[in-house]
Symmetry: C2
Subunit: 461 residues, 2 copies
């Protein structure tokens, strides 16, 4: 689908690296516009930091370097000379922001400080790489980094970030579950991590967003302090949260079908394509009516293509634009010209309907809204069926093997029981629900004690 829809070309001659193609780049931009708007309107400011992080900076927070040292690309030479200090290509930017926050923050009046950047990050993945999902150079990474005066403010900001991501994925119609990752799988250096996951068509689960409460770990490592109103100095409290190019994979996985990509109108680079269906003798009238329809729709503020390519049949054009996920196709043939109408075909259901030309704009706008809602509801309904409360390890294992999705097993809350559940179910623990009250279907299947919560498990990407 990625290649067919001209999103990314994965044939770049470095393993795990791909090229964003023009159409994919436009989709990427429209998606990033949404998250930028959400962040800008909630007091975040966009900045841009360097890619290179000196080894000693990366190593300042002990857990962090342990989590990332095996995964970094290292720059060791400038020209033909070895560098004095090795430079990592950022795997994430906590340690690049660290020394800058130390410089920027003086007093309580500087807090909260909420910054973000959209950059590329690098992970020397030893696991199998996959376009958009697990890459060595991730070309699209939105990372926010914040500093706060108190633990409560940081906690409050984590909740705000979760709300921002909910609105973001809701705009895209991408369904998600929100889980607090287990202790043994949190971000390297965080107090705790909250993650958004989605279920892909093959039943496996994809992490699509994360929010971390960093506490004072990095603040202590980088000596980021502020002066309180009473004159005392204290370390700041930090959070960070990220969204990657995986969000494009998420949109594709949530809505795509056998014909290819299906895009939500808000982010479709082309929202409407007008395809003339010329018959002998009516070519000119059909072309004119198509261009007129295109003009009207464009003037209404929509992103429109009128496909006048010669030498290619209407059928080929249908197939081409379907593959690219364009939400609505407007067909105009001689009969339509005669009747002063057009035929609308919606991409998600392939349903057709005729509308008078003088109602075209309203009809298209109305249909785009319908498609937005329909995509979201269909995707949510599909996902909800695949999150199942189960009582036993055997049942959990069987479901994941046969149907995939997410299972929720009762859990006493003990790390050892959780890890054993992972092993016995042969799946990965996503953590405990952050989006609903956990309802354990019985006692902890490992130790038999009362379950305090549920542990979500899934086969993951």
């Amino acid at each position: 689908m990625l290649t067919e829809a001209d999103i990314m070309d994965y044939r770049y001659p470095v393993k795990g690296c791909g090229v964003w193609l023009p159409y994919g780049f436009k989709l990427r931009k429209l998606i990033l516009d949404i998250i930028r708007e959400l962040l800008d309107s909630t007091g975040h400011h966009e900045v841009l930091l360097p890619t290179l992080i000196p080894e000693d900076m990366l190593a300042k927070e002990a857990e962090h370097i342990r989590g990332f040292e095996e995964e970094c690309f290292w720059v060791t030479h400038g020209g033909l000379r070895p560098l004095g200090v090795k430079l990592a290509l950022r795997p994430t930017s906590e340690t690049a922001f660290g020394p800058m926050f130390k410089l920027w923050i003086r007093s309580h009046a500087d807090l909260p400080m909420k910054l973000y950047q959209v950059v590329n990050i690098f992970r020397y993945e030893t696991r199998a790489t996959r376009p958009l999902i697990r890459m060595r150079e991730v070309l699209t990474f939105k990372e926010a980094h914040t500093c706060h005066a108190t633990a409560e403010d940081a906690e409050q900001n984590v909740r705000e970030a979760v709300e921002i991501y909910k609105r973001f994925f809701d705009e895209l119609g991408v369904p998600y579950i929100i889980s607090r990752r287990p202790e043994w799988d949190k971000f390297a250096g965080a107090l705790y991590s909250i993650a958004f996951d989605m279920i892909c068509p093959d039943g496996r689960v994809l992490q699509i967003g994360t929010v971390h409460n960093l506490g004072q770990n990095f603040a202590k490592a980088f000596e980021i302090t502020y002066e309180r109103p009473d004159g005392k100095h204290e370390y700041v409290w930090q959070t960070c949260y990220g969204i990657s190019g995986r969000v494009v994979a998420a949109v594709m996985a949530a809505h795509g079908d056998d014909h290819g990509l299906v895009l939500p109108p808000r982010v479709a680079p082309v929202q409407v394509v007008v395809v003339p269906i010329p018959y002998k003798g009516a070519e000119e009238a059909v072309r004119q009516a198509s261009e007129e329809a295109g003009r009207l729709l464009r003037e209404a503020g929509l992103r429109v293509e009128v496909d006048l390519r010669p030498d290619i049949t209407p059928g080929e054009k249908f197939y081409y634009w379907e593959r690219h996920g364009v939400p609505i196709r407007v067909e105009i043939g001689p009969r339509d010209v005669e009747r002063k109408q057009a035929t609308l075909v919606r991409r998600d259901t392939l349903e057709r309907k005729e509308v008078p030309l003088d109602q075209l704009v309203e009809a298209v706008k109305g249909l785009l809204d319908e498609i937005t809602v329909a995509l979201r509801e269909r995707a949510w309904a599909w996902m909800r069926e695949r999150v199942r409360a189960v009582a036993s390890v055997e049942e959990a294992r069987a479901i994941l093997e046969e149907q995939g999705g997410v299972v929720e097993l009762p859990w006493c809350g003990d790390d050892e029981c959780g890890r054993r559940m992972q092993d016995e179910v042969d799946a990965r623990a996503l953590g405990t629900p952050e989006d609903e009250e956990p309802k354990p279907a019985g006692p902890c299947p490992i130790c038999g004690r009362e379950a305090k919560t549920v542990l979500r498990l899934a086969r993951t990407y």
Copy 2:
């Protein structure tokens, strides 16, 4: 000025690397918007390629690698393991586009192909680094790469690119001269290079944009061929052209003054700042009138701040916004409230004028246009005085020593004479004029033969 105006923080702990601050980032974005608009409207498509270039790819074009191998940062390790093939951090992307063009281009119908990306590039500079001007990680690089069916089409595209850059710099009011770089200073791998240069306040010259005709050099190295209508296969003809973060330095240098930054309205993150001048008893009326003025200006589509910060005096606010280059300050005091007027102060001349509140929007818009024109004209007049035709090496040398700028010496066109001129004038050859007919002021001062053109020389950054 860079720090005072919150453009870039250069204290990042890697030499030659800086951080774009929120205000600078907004300025950068508004500037990039212009070039994106110009490129998108002339058939260019934006893409995004990886940063990492394998050593063998970088080395495919022989001149190119010779030009860049001393300047590359090299990634040699992934995690703790050495990589099989060393990876360069792109110093520029001809060799990253190479293998992709080979895949993407099949027939003449695919041509021209005009792509661009906005990325970071890396140069292991051994010369003194400077913020925005010579950095090791250039965080802002717009590079276009095109392929054409014939030498003429490529040539034509070079001319189009020059026109695009002229319009770009004209929008910014940045004056330039356009020169064809001498043979010995062209881009590594190009047939020829055309460059935009500006003169900085200190008299030194800064290269701010380049356009290169690559001929078939890279096409042959990367086997980028297309099928002609007659069925024969031929190598494509290529061009590339780039603009970097230096453009921000150019804007600052072209318009700034002793009070700090002066921004052209089109790219000013804040176009108008409203500053209330409260007096005892009139605080509330002044605040209300200021907010009302802000609302009106914002509704007119302008980027507006109303500076209601308590605890800081109007004078401090004036100074703050002047430093940030905001084109117009609107002051509202008790007398203005009484008379239903506001006082406008333009940043470039610091002239004041009173306008009735009900004409505020038109007055501000008119003044913004005046400022745009005034900045451009002043900067051009200043530069024109500093490009001087001279007849002798001694005169050229004296002028550059005392006043800087650009001198044009008569030149026979012979490379050896040109290089000797560089040495004897103790300056760098910018090349021959592309923006006007050369008018030599005498014979070639080196060999005494008739001058075919002039050679521009300057002390450069």
